[in-house]
């Protein structure tokens, strides 16, 4: 019993003394003067540091702007550089007759000055004067009279301008030069051909083009005796749509 009371007393004394040791940090007891002074210096230094930090930090926000930044979504700009269309005209096939010609064109505008053109056309010639006068003479079969060609050309736009229709309508227009290479099938043979020409283009709207064009389709052939260049001049009118 006694020993239990002794243990209790000792334990309470121990608790009290340890309480003193912890308490002095919070309560500046007079018998802890040195430590209290040191802690006061600590507090001053902390206050100085806080002041310095406050100087460096941005000034306190007076009005908090509740503005949401508008995010700009840049929509894709449509490029309309491709022209697709067809033409119809007349081609004068050298040594034969003039005949109607039809064709299709595909243009790709690369710069304001230059464009690529792929064109394909076909026609069919009639009889030569020799065949007409000779009675039963026939130089070519029906299939060999077919004149088909394709061209890969480079075009150059020049003389830009406007066409005026009446008082209120103005349409942009321009001339262009074309030159290229390709192939022509005629007289039962396919030959390398060179084409060159010029045209005039009018745009009633931004997407529609009306064009008048003159071209020469040249190839070399020895079919009619001697090996020589054959010029096949054509003139045609066409319409294309920009995509």
């Amino acid at each position: 019993m006694e020993s239990r009371i002794r243990v209790l007393l000792l334990a309470s004394v121990l608790m009290l003394t340890s309480g003193c040791a912890t308490m002095h940090r919070h309560m500046h007891w007079p018998f802890h003067r040195h430590k209290a002074q040191a802690s006061a210096q600590d507090a001053d230094a902390a206050a100085d540091a806080a002041a310095a930090a406050a100087d460096a930090a941005p000034p306190p926000v007076v009005i908090d702007p509740q503005v949401e930044r508008r995010k700009i979504k840049v929509p894709k700009i449509k490029a309309k550089n491709v022209e697709l269309g067809a033409y119809f005209g007349e081609i004068s096939i050298e040594s034969y007759t003039a005949a109607p010609v039809v064709g299709a064109v595909f243009d790709y505008h690369v710069t304001e000055d230059f464009f690529f053109e792929a064109a394909a056309g076909r026609s069919k010639t009639g009889k030569t004067s020799f065949e007409t006068l000779g009675g039963n003479v026939q130089l070519l079969t029906d299939d060999e009279r077919r004149f088909t060609y394709y061209n890969l050309s480079l075009g150059y736009n020049f003389l830009p301008g406007e066409v005026f229709l009446g008082r209120n309508l103005a349409m942009t227009s321009g001339m262009y030069l074309l030159g290229g290479i390709g192939s022509t099938k005629f007289e039962g043979d396919q030959k390398f051909s060179v084409n060159f020409g010029a045209g005039f283009r009018v745009l009633p709207t931004d997407w529609l083009t009306i064009r008048i064009e003159a071209q020469d389709q040249v190839f070399k052939s020895d079919f009619l005796g001697t090996d020589r260049l054959r010029n096949n001049l054509s003139a045609h009118i066409g319409a294309t749509v920009f995509f």
Partner: protein, 252 residues
Amino acid sequence: MPRRSTTKRWRLLALLLCLAPLPGRAAHRELLQLFVTEPFIELHTGPGRGYPVAQVVARGESVDVLFRRTEWFKVRTERGVEGWASERSVETTTLADGSPFKFDRGDRKGFQSHRWEGGIFAGDYAGATLVEGFLARSLTDNLKLELHVGQFLGNLSNGYIADLGLNHVFMPEWRFSPFVTLGTGVERTEPKATLVTPLNQNYQTAYAGAGARFYLTRRFFLRAEYRHHTVFTKSDANEVKQEWKVGFAYFY
């Protein structure tokens, strides 16, 4: 008679193409709005420097970009007036948030690194004149996968070639950059003969070649190359054909 109907059909097709329905015009398409920061920008009547200036848009005003054609932008002003603005003037405008409007103009940097290129060639294929078109897809700046399709027209035979291969550009950043190429293809020969009905022949080919490309301006470059083709014929020995060509190409 059937001939005439074919011609008629062609004419009808041409007419139909001329009268083709108008390309779709999206009425509510979202348009890009650009703000003028220079004292003013000029609007031309057409997409070319030669077309007259019909309007100006002053600083602070905005334009809506409708579409683009080559180096020109078709725009609509706040007052509803439409005109063509040059790339140079559009480059000075800003977006609604004040950031400068940026777009790809096509320059040396683009020549070094781009996705597609295409063009046309003229040349010589084993003595025959060659007309060819090509399309290439960049796998990296150095390596390209390319397809060439051409027609050759000679005195003895005509035909077609189609080649698919890889192209390795050594120094894509150089204006004048050499390359080597390797691939396989097919060749179709149509011999010309007047006495015996000729047989068309299709053979597989393989090629190796070298060439160079030269940057011209904007998106254009020149390309010249030599190719050594081996044609796997049915006879004992393979045939060797040499090809030389020069071309004009475009990248995007």
